[in-house]
């Protein structure tokens, strides 16, 4: 089977700042990293591969520098990697992003010319955009079932899928379906491995990232990039701080007393 893992390059989270004048993310000088949950996606793919064999294909849409996160995916053990990159993809919202990814996956499936079963694994959400929309939209575009917020996953027999979905901790449901399927995983599902040194050496020596542009995907301009995006960004801003922090002092008893008083005064209880 083929396992597609969708990998997004994101800015290292602790460093993200918004330019107060232009209301846009300041990206210069910020190191890029692989979206953390996408590592969980690869780890799941690797464990499936170790158990029953599979070809792991990492795919990303992004600028040419996103090659680095794909090389990291290859170092972890992905077999192949594709970067969908083109100026025409720029400015994509989640819909246009998932459309490009769907085109990529369809092309890879078509070119491989086999009737192998497949599945797609996404992270649940990206630490920058944070919408958790790309996975679901991608499943719609591919017209396959989807299970989001997956914290436990199992493949049984030929194509039986059993997944534990934890949308909220009080709402855990077990869902069964059949391949093909798209799942988006939570970080609780596993602990991603670090690539071994041999994994890195072989990624750079024996594997390579294949670049695909809009033409290669036969993408229509109306559905990709800025033109294909339905989202209109009204404003990006840092929420203003309301009220001040209050620091209580004194003995524990005194502090608890003041705290209770304050909470009562503020009608919190």
């Amino acid at each position: 089977m083929k396992i597609f893992t969708c990998i997004k390059q994101v800015p290292g989270i602790s460093d993200v700042k918004i330019d107060p004048k232009t209301n846009t993310l300041i990206r210069e000088g910020i190191p890029s990293i692989m979206n953390p949950m996408d590592k969980n996606a690869i780890e799941l793919a690797l464990s499936i591969k170790e158990e029953r064999g599979a070809e792991i294909i990492a795919i990303s849409m992004g600028p040419p520098q996103a090659e680095n996160v794909l090389l990291e995916a290859l170092s972890m053990g992905a077999d192949k990697a594709y970067l969908l990159t083109d100026r025409a993809f720029a400015g994509a919202d989640t819909l246009a992003t998932s459309h490009a990814l769907a085109l990529g996956i369809k092309k890879i499936l078509k070119d491989s010319d086999s009737n192998e079963k497949y599945m797609v694994i996404c992270g649940t959400q990206a630490i920058d955009g944070d919408t958790a929309q790309v996975g679901p939209e991608l499943a719609e575009d591919l017209d396959i079932p989807q299970i989001t917020y997956v914290q436990k996953f199992e493949l049984k027999g030929d194509d039986k899928v059993i997944a534990e979905r934890a949308f909220r901790s009080e709402e855990i449901v077990v869902i069964e379906t059949k391949l093909p399927v798209l799942i988006s995983v939570l970080k609780e599902i596993n602990t991603p491995r670090f690539p071994s040194m041999l994994g890195i050496v072989n990624a750079y020596k024996k594997k390579k990232v294949v670049f695909l542009d809009a033409e290669a995907l036969k993408a229509e301009k109306a559905y990709i990039g800025l033109t294909g995006s339905k989202t209109e960004v009204f404003k990006i801003f840092i929420p203003e701080r309301k009220g001040e922090h209050v620091k209580l002092t004194g003995t524990i008893e005194e502090m608890v007393k003041t705290l209770c008083q304050n909470l009562k005064e503020d009608k919190i209880f």
Binding site: S196, M197, V201
Partner: protein
């Protein structure tokens, strides 16, 4: 000339840094205090091939035998977090596994190298004895041939990994022709009868690293276990140490780097006389000098590694790198403690450990005096 690292080397640095910070940093102080290498870290480092760094994939390694710069980066990044770990992997790879790869026969590689490179077994290299420190020619542990076996008697001290090693390279006296002594390197399995581990040293620095005495009493080693030929031990031993020195230099670069990072952070945070101490020129000059010293050692270390990969004679530059890097690490960690004031003397601050770890490096793998002696001899003989 191009000073940039390749993308692969950058990835190796990034991953090793992330790994060291996540797995080792939070227990480094504890490991130092109870002199123990953490088994979880050990297991993960084996999986990540840090015990087979400079060995080709076909012998179970990571395939960095032709990229000593990457090996340096790895050692540097581990050393930046905990020098006890970088000396453990550094010694295992550079002076045990690598010589087996370079000088070993195919049978020896199959039997001894593969388990070492996979991390299934730990290795130690033993030359130092009670009466043979800087003067390796004083080695008294000896072997005589009895039928198909060499019988070894004597003892070694200060062997890194000694107490945890299962495969050892021993430099042993195998003959004496007049005043000329002959030495041979033997590959020894620690399960051989007559082999025993003596005292485990309680040290100033790299405390979690195992440094032990080893004793051999009528230990019988198969005839075919010599590495690189009978009587070739001195030359091979020196060659092994030449290579190992580059990695010990790299470890010191990491220690120096750690000292600077801690100092910059502290100098910007600690306020005295109404301003961060980093605003005082007395502190600024220390920071500047640390930066210069560590950057010089990094350049020399990478140069030695680059020369090694390009099959150039790197002996003298390697000595220079080891000398400079260990003294730079000593200077930088010394200044780091000073910048931290009394806090720097406390176990709660890592600079206290860095300082102790750095001192070790001025002594092992050839003392600073011996490096100066070697460098001077080469310069005086060959010119510059």
């Amino acid at each position: 000339m191009d000073f940039s690292l390749t993308k692969k080397q950058q990835m190796i640095r990034k991953i090793t840094r992330e790994f060291s910070e996540e797995y080792i940093a939070h227990i480094a102080e504890e490991s130092d205090q109870n002199s123990q290498l953490d088994p979880t870290v050990m297991k993960e480092m084996k999986r990540m091939k840090y015990f087979g760094t400079c060995i080709p994939e076909e012998y179970g390694g990571a395939g960095l035998h032709d990229d000593t710069i990457s090996f340096c980066i790895i050692t540097e990044e581990i050393g930046r977090i905990d020098a006890s770990w970088s000396i453990t992997t550094g010694v295992h790879c550079s002076v045990v596994a690598y010589p087996l790869y370079i000088f070993g026969t195919e049978e020896q590689k199959q039997e001894f190298l593969i388990p070492l490179a996979k991390g299934d077994k730990i290795g130690a290299f033993c030359i130092t004895e009670a009466n043979a420190g800087s003067d390796a020619g004083g080695v008294e542990t000896n072997a005589y041939l009895d039928g198909d076996e060499w019988v070894i008697n004597g003892s070694k001290i200060f062997a890194t990994n000694g107490g945890i090693a299962e495969t050892l390279l021993l430099v042993v006296k195998t003959g004496e022709k007049g005043r000329r002594k002959e030495f041979t390197v033997f590959i020894v399995d620690a399960n051989t009868p007559g082999y025993s581990v003596g005292v485990r040293e309680d040290k100033l620095g790299v405390r979690a690293s195992n440094t032990s005495e080893l004793v051999f009493q009528d230990m019988r080693v198969p005839k075919e276990n010599d590495l690189g030929g009978i009587g070739k031990g001195f030359r091979i031993g020196l060659q092994i140490l030449d290579y190992g020195r580059i990695l010990m230099a790299a470890q010191c670069v990491g220690l120096g780097q750690a000292a600077i990072e801690a100092s910059i952070k502290y100098a910007n945070e600690r306020v005295q006389f109404g301003q961060p101490i980093g605003k005082f020129q007395g502190i600024q000059w220390k920071i500047a000098d640390m930066g210069v010293a560590v950057e010089c050692s990094r350049l020399l270390t990478y140069q030695a590694a680059w020369m090694c990969d390009n099959k150039l004679d790197y002996g003298m530059i390697g000595s220079m790198a080891k000398l400079k890097a260990s003294e730079a690490a000593m200077q930088a960690t010394h200044d780091a403690v000073q910048i931290h004031g009394a806090y720097g003397l406390m176990k709660a601050y890592a600079v206290e450990r860095y300082f102790r770890d750095a001192k070790m490096a001025e002594i092992y793998e050839g003392t600073s005096e011996i490096q100066r002696m070697v460098i001077a001899q080469k310069l005086l003989r060959r010119g510059y």
